[in-house]
Symmetry: C2
Subunit: 273 residues, 2 copies
């Protein structure tokens, strides 16, 4: 069993991004919008800011209180879209309930949409065109698999979960790489049988779902889930201790997909259109 | 075995569209652009024009010779986008090689994109938002399945083929309806085993691929392929005579998906934004 060391690989990616940024005529400038005072969101935003600084990307955090109107938020984004100094815009989710998340995301210029969440970028990904940005988490996962030279073409890939952030774009990106892709979700019957067919298993569910004897021998298991167990310990979707012995490759939690997502986001933030 | 009678169902859909159109304050106006003199394209365009007339939708065919420049074609579309009388724009594919198909499709206003092929509409479909238009063929297939009350939620659906017109949007739309979806293509290994797992099989490959003993008993088989066999007879992907006895439902070729696609397109063309 080989550990997919996201921490180590992400450092390599960040080094590459840093080297690239140093050659750019224009310093990329990432603006992160943080609405409200969600503690987890604040941590994520800080991590992004720190990572940006490390690789030489200018970053600004715009903080607004939870009471901001949708209209005011749209105006801020419009101004950032028109600001030539700003090359990337990221709205930290979740947003307060009175704000239509989709409307906000759609308002970001596709050329500054470093999360790759706007309909134009998602649509280009789906059609097989080149989006300006690929969503960070699935892109980071592919970077991780590629670093370990895990064959994707022709592989049977099973994706657990169908969120817009991970599951669905992951499926699209694996399909582009010529994997045979099955997407499973809460309505899937016999999910254990499906897991068993996977050469590559991507679990992005957010609860303990992949257990002992479920995975195919020598398969590659990528654990996207991250949450705290009953003892307050960070853990993932995969029952690591029992599942890992039969895997060919497996990503740990923490230290797997998490750091890859940040590195992948910085890769996006270094793109200037 | 029950035949999925696309001819009969499409008539019902067209009647509904006609009734709806007659109540609209503004008569929908579909403009079809035909470039070059491909014989098959001409037949398709004529069928669309005839169907539009039947349901009370105004239609115009703009014919241009194969030598038209990309720029001129873009200008035509731009004018149609700005023409308030025009509610739907459809560019018949294929286009001559000197024209960038993607550029042309992307230039159509998403609100007039009756084929549902623009990145914005594809992206909205992928994200789970409401696109202005769903692609006609997969939408027509779902109309057909719904007419026969075939359960989609929780079903194991296998899609053969991953074109932008059928396979990929079909997968997205089945996923939205809570099916578990597997997409197969030329790189898929052991495609027979995958076909066998399908409660719903959608074959959109364009060659004879689904043969006797491959399908699960009582499954629902939808044949999107249409081509001429060695004897010049119209046929589909499925070896109908040998496969149909073990199916629960099966669509014939011709008379299955073909007429449903036209009806579904007219449903789209009746939408006025």
């Amino acid at each position: 069993m080989i550990l997919l060391d996201g921490k180590a690989v992400s450092q390599k990616i960040l080094e590459r991004v840093k080297a690239k940024v140093s050659t750019l005529a224009k310093v990329p400038h990432l603006v992160v919008i943080l609405v409200g005072d969600d503690a987890a969101s604040r941590v994520y935003v800080n991590n992004k800011k720190k990572a940006a600084e490390k690789v030489g990307i200018k970053s600004t955090v715009i903080e607004k209180n939870a009471g901001i109107s949708e209209e005011d938020l749209l105006t801020i984004i419009k101004d950032l879209n028109n600001d030539e100094d700003v090359t990337g815009i990221l709205v930290q989710l979740p947003l307060p309930e009175h704000i239509d998340k989709n409307k906000i995301v759609e308002s970001i210029s596709p050329k500054k949409d470093v999360d790759g969440f706007t309909p134009e970028n998602v649509g280009k990904l789906a059609i097989g065109l080149e989006p300006y940005f690929y969503p960070a988490t699935p892109q980071g996962i592919l970077m991780l698999l590629d670093e370990y030279k895990i064959p994707i073409e022709g592989a049977d890939a099973v994706v657990l979960g169908r969120s817009n952030i991970v599951g669905k774009p992951m499926a699209q990106m694996l399909l582009r790489r010529n994997a045979t892709v099955t997407i499973c979700h809460s309505y899937t019957k016999g999910v254990e049988d499906k897991i068993k067919t996977a050469d590559i298993l991507i679990s992005a569910v957010g609860k303990k779902i992949v257990r002992c004897k479920m995975v195919r021998n020598n398969s590659c298991v990528v654990d996207v889930g991250i949450f705290r167990d009953a003892n307050g310990k960070l853990t993932g979707d995969v029952d690591f201790d029992f599942v890992s012995p039969s895997c060919g490759y497996i990503s740990p939690v923490p230290g797997g997909v998490g750091p890859m997502t940040i590195a992948s986001l910085m890769y996006n933030a270094s793109k200037v259109y």
